[in-house]
Symmetry: C2
Subunit: 224 residues, 2 copies
């Protein structure tokens, strides 16, 4: 009985979150700001990828970053130091994901006026962040080579809700049993519309293709 009650409340939390997420997107649209949600396992390379990506785009767009973590401020400091863009840290207080309300609080602190691109680095976790619409225009997930090519089989939802799958750490491909073709096949099985871009965030290889994808996205969001 206890279990049924929890599930019902979870459903109402989801429903309420979706309404709030649509409100976030409406506010972003009015301000002409694009919000990108970035998800991955712990240590897959979100912060390093964002650093490279922002350094490509920061002269063209005004960018702000929200770094979500359970604890520590290291990621926001890294982004600020290595890119110079405004970066704030969101502490989730033990929560395993961000929801639309938490994202809204973050955006209020970033100040949307004049901002072209806001980026949300979600908590490192392949399960819970996939369940909550943050209000972002699109979602990206980063899978790193050391995690293995079988992750789309084991964590289906995150691959289903992502528009772009970045495969990071391709520099260490020779040292891991990672089958890129099989990985692509399994990602597309979960999500036939997913874009897939292999990169090495450490050296910057392939990040230009992510920047191209994001530029098209931003221009499209501003016009339509």
């Amino acid at each position: 009985m206890e279990k049924v009650r929890v599930i019902e409340i979870k459903k109402s939390v989801f429903a309420e979150n979706e309404i709030q997420a649509d409100d976030v997107r409406k506010a972003l649209k009015e301000k002409g700001c694009y919000l990108l949600n970035v998800m991955s396992s712990p240590g897959a390379g979100k912060t390093t990828t964002l650093t490279q990506l922002i350094n490509i785009l920061k002269n063209k767009y005004k960018i702000g970053v929200m770094e979500a973590d359970i604890d520590s401020d290291v990621d926001a400091l890294t982004i600020a130091k290595k890119t110079g863009v405004k970066s704030i840290q969101l502490h989730t207080g033990g929560m395993c994901h961000l929801d639309a309300e938490m994202t809204k609080q973050g955006l209020d602190n970033l100040e949307l006026n004049g901002l072209d691109l806001a980026i949300l680095e979600n908590v490192g976790n392949l399960v819970c962040p996939a369940e909550f619409d943050t209000g972002a225009v699109k979602s990206v997930m980063i899978l790193s080579v050391p995690e293995g090519h079988d992750k789309p089989m084991k964590y289906p939802l995150i691959f289903q809700v992502c528009d772009l799958v970045i495969i990071n750490k391709i520099d260490v491909l020779p040292y891991f049993d990672f089958n890129m073709d099989l990985c692509r096949e399994w990602v597309l099985k979960r999500n036939p519309n997913a874009q897939i871009i292999p990169i090495c965030a450490k050296t910057g290889e392939g990040v230009d293709k992510v920047a191209e994808w994001l530029e098209k996205e931003i221009e499209n969001w501003k016009v339509n």
Copy 2:
């Protein structure tokens, strides 16, 4: 208001889970069976570590394994094929962790009679599994080198609740900026009583030390 209501219910879920976890431990004690809970990020090497560990211990102890995943049966099949011990797959139905009730269901399917060691491979996630006592005697977490040495700063709870921290994939240390000394320091800052054992699950290096630790644990559990 909605938020407060959710938090209150979460608390009651935790309290109820703790009672169930103690019941699980009591039943294990009566049967003389030791339960080990194994946690990590996705792709950190839980299944490979367990395969090596079981092959060291299987002639001395009767072992059973529960593989928890959101989807797929690959891990249970891998364990069964590579070790020959009884292995069952637990599908969590989208859930990001196991609780004591789900563990109990798994143990009922494993059949505790005559079993010396039951191993629970939790869902790949550094956040939620740390919040739920499964009823295990002890918990182990596996941190892999590619994830980075900063994880104890970012995911404090999982390091606090673990008795043993295994640092896996030490074969790729030359290709990553992983500071082993700093990692040890940060693990011990979160948990001064934690044991730390570096291994390479792929080659088996260091797994004998994990086996030694576990043997002592099992013998102690049987006697005391």
